[in-house]
């Protein structure tokens, strides 16, 4: 096996035993990127020289857990001294003066940041086609989307360009691309990981998470990034357990629920079959598996598109051309400065969502739209609370279909929004959720979503690991080498 094919824990093992050097790992990764990146197009910014230099200077003995391990960050994470664009013309030349906390933690652990990964502009989208620069291609079928908004982060891991990456998940932006790209994507509980330095889309929904090749890696990276941050007043002051301690506990006696609403006619048959088979596996191996109802499921998506866009309209108000970002030169007055800078800097999807959110918050409509959506949010949250009163985990498909073709959903915004139908309820309730590979349909990966109680990341990893150990897909994307 090539070094670039290995997981974080495999690389750490080799480094610890002195069988391989950080420089060799970096070279393998960078060569891999060179050979496949023209097909995948996952990176917006790549800093090969810096990575090689850091790898040459790194000393395994002196350093942290990630010493010598390369990784990528969604271009939503502020990285001091390294361009951070959020895949937008608005921030095309923006260089942050500080690091996001999650980025800083990985750097402090000795990780080697290879570059910044492509995404839908300002995290708004489900395909990465809304990047202002270019679309990323799904390594399993280059004519298909990797999903979004963290499409670059998912594709880079699937293509073995980096062993792990960070993304963000507001309505499914980690879990959905993980499902489309056949990798593990973990969204922790709201408040588990600091959002400081992560450019905000919807502040009550955004959460930082991990893409990896297996569940153990997910647990290892979670150990590093989780935790209270005084700079993020929404981060919780709860101790971070060692998530790897949950991995070998098995699933005997676990109570697993599957919501009938998530297996409806809108979900592709092969996907349902694949997840039903997985549920059977859980039952055969000692878990209690029962059907439940999340009765307000069909209202989660409309409520989400009001709450998220409303919050986005507020968060993106800071982009006015004054302190950072694109500035229109021809403005005669302040309103024109703002309006024209924003018109030039934002893409269509971002403008659409800002407009929708502004409308939902505007005088005369606030109660009917935004407030109404927040009330429905409570109903969705209560649905989950009821089920988690009797069960440990909820399992469903991650997405209603496998990866769609590039260009397929660009005509009608609503059809793209629908791809998040199984993931957004989790964000609305602030809960943790993982997507792990559980099969293929027509050569395209299928993802299974495992949802847990608030701060029960360990339980999710426990179940995911158990399934993965007995059901590992043996395929790799048919990328070939240039």
């Amino acid at each position: 096996m090539e070094l670039y094919e290995l997981t974080v824990h495999q690389l750490v093992n080799l480094l610890d035993k002195g069988e391989v050097s950080s420089r060799e790992i970096a070279d393998s990764i960078l060569d891999r990127i060179q050979s496949v990146e023209s097909k995948v197009k996952a990176f917006l910014t790549l800093d090969e020289d810096r990575a090689r230099e850091q790898a040459s200077q790194t000393c395994r003995q002196a350093g942290g857990f990630l010493q010598g391990i390369p990784y990528g960050l969604k271009d939503l994470f502020c990285t001091r001294g390294m361009r951070t664009t959020c895949a937008s013309r608005m921030l095309e030349h923006f260089v942050p003066p500080y690091d996001a906390t999650a980025a800083r933690k990985l750097a402090q652990a000795g990780g080697i940041l290879v570059g910044k990964l492509n995404m839908d502009e300002f995290a708004m989208g489900s395909s990465t086609e809304h990047s202002a620069f270019f679309a990323t291609h799904n390594p399993w079928d280059l004519e298909r989307v990797p999903g979004g908004s963290s499409g670059g982060s998912a594709a880079a891991v699937a293509a073995d360009e980096v062993p792990f990456s960070l993304g963000s998940d507001t309505g499914g932006s980690i879990r959905q691309p993980a499902s489309f790209c056949g990798v593990v994507g973990f969204r922790p509980t709201y408040g588990r990981v600091s959002r400081w330095g992560v450019v905000a889309f919807a502040s009550s929904l955004d959460q930082v998470g991990v893409f990896s090749k297996d569940v153990r890696d997910s647990a290892l990276v979670m150990n590093l990034i989780a935790g209270h941050d005084p700079l993020d007043s929404t981060s919780v002051n709860l101790e971070v357990p060692d998530y790897t301690a949950f991995l070998n506990k098995g699933i005997k006696g676990m109570k697993i629920a599957y919501p009938r609403e998530h297996f409806g006619p809108g979900v592709q048959n092969e996907i349902k079959q694949s997840v039903y088979q997985a549920l059977q596996w859980f039952e055969q191996n000692g878990a209690v598996v029962e059907e439940v109802s999340l009765p307000h499921s069909e209202y989660a998506l409309p409520a989400y598109y009001l709450v998220a866009t409303a919050e986005a309209s507020a968060n993106l108000a800071r982009f006015d051309g004054v302190r950072f970002g694109l500035r229109d030169e021809g403005a005669d007055n302040i309103i024109e400065l703002f309006s024209r800078s924003r018109a030039n800097g934002f893409g269509a999807e971002v403008k659409r969502r800002i407009m929708l959110g502004t409308y939902a918050l505007s005088s005369g409509y606030y109660d009917a739209y935004y407030l109404k959506a927040l009330k429905v949010r409570r109903l969705i949250w209560e649905d989950f609370q009821k089920v988690f009163g009797d069960y440990d985990l909820i399992i469903s498909p991650t997405t209603p279909t496998t990866a769609f073709k590039l260009g397929e959903k660009l005509g009608d915004p609503l059809t793209e929004y629908m791809t998040d139908i199984l993931t957004v309820p989790v964000n609305m309730a602030g809960l943790p959720g993982i997507s792990i590979p559980c099969g293929f349909a027509g050569g395209l990966p299928i993802g299974m979503q495992i949802i847990g109680k608030a701060f029960a990341e360990g339980t999710i990893l426990q179940a995911a690991y158990a399934f993965e150990q007995s059901n590992r897909p043996n395929q790799k994307p048919p990328l070939g080498v240039n």
Binding site: Y299, R323, T358
Partner: protein, 94 residues
């Protein structure tokens, strides 16, 4: 049902977004369709339901008022397009 041009222009002004005529037409239609979809929420009786704006039971997170190091003015203003005399320069406001 599509939004009216006036509604689109009103929202665009609130959002500080200059839109082309094409964009106004397109958004009138698309936003209309999305709003029709989200109108589904009316099916649910919610008069007695409290809005859920924040998931966590966390309130008023304060810290002690102690000075800490901050990035320098130069670093912080480095991304601005127009800086003069250590200030951000903008067109006339009043």
């Amino acid at each position: 049902m599509a939004l009216s041009l006036a509604e689109v222009e009103h929202v665009a002004l609130l959002a500080r977004l200059t839109l082309s005529e094409n964009e106004k037409e397109l958004f009138a239609q698309q936003l209309g369709a999305i709003l029709e979809y989200v109108d589904k929420l009316r099916e649910l009786p919610t008069d007695d339901i409290e809005p859920l704006s924040h998931i966590l039971p966390v309130f008023n997170v304060f810290r002690e008022d102690h000075c800490r190091p901050s990035p320098s003015r130069e670093e912080t203003m480095a991304n601005a397009a127009l800086v003069e005399d250590k200030q951000y320069r903008v067109p006339r406001i009043i």
